[in-house]
């Protein structure tokens, strides 16, 4: 077993799926010779040739639109949008076709497509390079919206996404791309889409998060344990859609308190949906109002202020204490 960064783990997933299945094609801007601007597709072109690791012209809509055609034709395209902030240029293709062709054709056409895109802040980038807009896709029927939080689950989720018969939007937390390494087995691993994982058990509080926010969330849980003796149950959603609302509600039934953490803007964000589900399914178990620790309802500021925007350990601890003291 080797330790890998998320970049290497995703690369491993791509490589192995490409080896196993010649229907799997990687395409996007700079994914071939350059290996992707984050090196996620590094050296795939050497292993599989430019027909499998395809450099495309610069057009997001065409990358996704062409991938839809490829998927309908029977291939398993994995297209990369260089930054999720540019995925809106292909939004109509995702919304109007990827999400709908199965329905429109009444099951005659399938779109087994994965759209990979790095998302989120914390890497000091320019405008449009730090957004967290998973809600757009989670809000769209017909799509699956997946966000891993570490190398190991990124690899397993991506393998599942590639094999899934439905279109999957796969957001990669770029702040976590190389932030830490984990043991990732060479042997195949998958994780079911739509299922969360309980990262740690606890009885006092449920903290729900995903993606890049898992790190500050876990740090906060650790600090709460050390300073306040609070045992937090931490849930890593992994999929925003389908949402594992059952796991969230079940945990809150045990703890009675919940904090939801995401870096996406607050209003109409995933936290709103999660909180509603908890409320619907475990209202009578709640001891305190559900707290959301999220980005503000502004565009993520240019990077000198992004730390102030992004939820961090302290903000999570504050929210947790408020919930605990109610």
């Amino acid at each position: 077993m080797a330790k890998m960064t998320m970049v290497q783990a995703i690369n491993l997933a791509l490589r192995q799926e490409m080896e196993k299945d010649d229907r799997v094609i990687v395409l996007g801007e700079d994914v071939g010779r350059d290996g992707g601007v984050f090196r996620v597709t590094d050296e795939l072109i050497d292993a599989f040739g430019e027909n499998r690791s395809v450099d495309t012209p610069l057009a997001e809509a065409a990358i996704v639109g062409m991938s839809i055609g490829m998927a309908v034709y029977g291939l398993r395209p994995i297209c990369e949008i260089q930054f999720s902030g540019f995925s809106y240029l292909a939004f109509h293709q995702i919304e109007c076709h990827a999400a709908r062709l199965r329905l429109r054709s009444q099951g005659l056409c399938e779109v087994p497509l994965v759209v990979r895109a790095p998302y989120g802040g914390g890497v000091h980038a320019l405008e449009h390079h730090s957004e967290s807009r998973e809600a757009y896709y989670a809000h769209t029927p017909g799509l699956k919206m997946v966000i891993p939080s570490g190398p190991k689950n990124a690899r397993a989720l991506l393998v599942s996404a590639v094999r899934d018969p439905d279109p999957v939007i796969f957001f990669e937390p770029k702040a976590t791309y190389r932030a830490f390494r984990e043991e990732v087995p060479e042997e195949e691993e998958t994780l079911p889409l739509g299922k969360s994982v309980k990262v740690q058990e606890g009885k006092d509080l449920t903290v729900i998060s995903y993606g890049a926010m898992m790190r500050p969330t876990l740090e906060a849980a650790e600090a709460l344990k050390a300073d306040d003796g609070v045992e937090s149950e931490v849930i890593d959603l992994l999929s925003i859609s389908p949402l594992d609302h059952e796991a969230c509600a079940a945990s809150v039934k045990k703890t009675g308190r919940a904090v939801i953490v995401h870096e996406a803007p607050r209003s109409f964000g995933p936290g709103a949906e999660i909180a509603s589900r908890i409320m619907e399914e475990s209202f009578f178990y709640l001891e305190a109002p559900i707290a959301r620790v999220t980005g503000f309802d502004v565009h993520i500021p240019l990077f000198s202020r992004e730390t102030a925007y992004l939820p961090g350990k302290d903000r999570i601890i504050r929210a947790a204490r408020e919930v605990l003291n109610t």
């Binding site: 094609i25 027909n51 495309t56 012209p57 057009a59 809509a61 065409a62 996704v64 639109g65 062409m66 991938s67 839809i68 055609g69 490829m70 998927a71 309908v72 034709y73 029977g74 291939l75 395209p77 109509h92 293709q93 109007c96 076709h97 062709l101 199965r102 329905l103 429109r104 054709s105 009444q106 099951g107 005659l108 056409c109 399938e110 029927p141 017909g142 699956k144 899934d164 018969p165 439905d166 739509g194 389908p242 949402l243 609302h245 059952e246």
Partner: protein
Amino acid sequence: MPRKKIKLPYAVDYLSILNEKGKLDKELEPDIPEDMLLKLYRFMVLGRMFDDQLLSLQRQGRMGTFAPISGQEAAQLGAVALLRPSDWFVPSFRETGAELWRGRSLESVILVFAGYAEGASVRKEGKEAEQPVTNMPVAVPVGTQILHAVGIGWGIQYREKEDVVMTFFGDGATSEGDFHEGMNFAGVYQCPVVFVCQNNHWAISVPREKQTRSKTLAQKALGYGIPGIQVDGNDVLAVYAAAEEAVDRARSGDGPSMIECVTYRMKMHTTADDPKRYRQEEEVEKWKKQDPISRYRKYLKDKDVLSDKKVEEMENAIQEEIKSAVKRAEEKMKDFSDPLQMFDHLYSERPLYLEAQRKALAEETETRKENAEEEKGE
């Protein structure tokens, strides 16, 4: 440091074989077998008559909005006639004639226009129903289907097949980004795609002149390193000849082509549209004189392939076919009343939360039915 003309690999040709009187340019006449000539005629008439039938159903409130094809029969059928069953057909939303040619059933069209999604899966019975899917469903967002055609073309090339893809779009679509991106990608990857533009002169209310400053639409292909040709879109022989050339090119691995069929939308954009607001009747009258069907009929008669008697028999048969299709469709609609169908075909497997929502609707529907029955009882 000269300033000189750059020689481009392609120039734009214009092709016309039958004039508006149905007179033939013998030299350009394509070699089409007789049964194909008749089949073409039959589908052109079917397209026109079905259009009329649909309009009538819509006007009666038995069906919803649809986009008529009248006037564009030659442009659609002359092109699609070149495809083999294993070739791919990627339509926009005004290619009913071509869709029928590709095997879509009449009742499927009626059902979808009547608001029943499951109509899309109603296929012709017999052998054709078992063929693998090579026809895409209609795409309403203008021009977006072009990219799918490119992706399919890429796949054909990747699998080293001899198949080709033909995609249809209108003059308005050439203003869309997806058209340009698609042409560009197809050019870059040399995908076996035939781009058929039905320049019917009107994008709803905006005339062709206001879509683009280009003299032709075909010339846009040149920008992407793709050959483009403009043809008389109401001359089925010209369309056929141009499509034959393009399909051969694609099939032999020489990449994509674009065909601009200059034609005319004889009717409204959709049944929800009133063209009198933006165009003159005189223009329509002028184009009526160039009707593709009558022109072609004259050619066939001149060629002794068709007789008045045969025309009448054919029209009667088509009328019967349409009638029985409407009947079958309306029968089916009764079975399709279940609103829960909306939860079908969203995902390969229905997720739990959707199941819950479906159940909620089922309960609601049940209650509504019970209430209605109670009311009746009183």
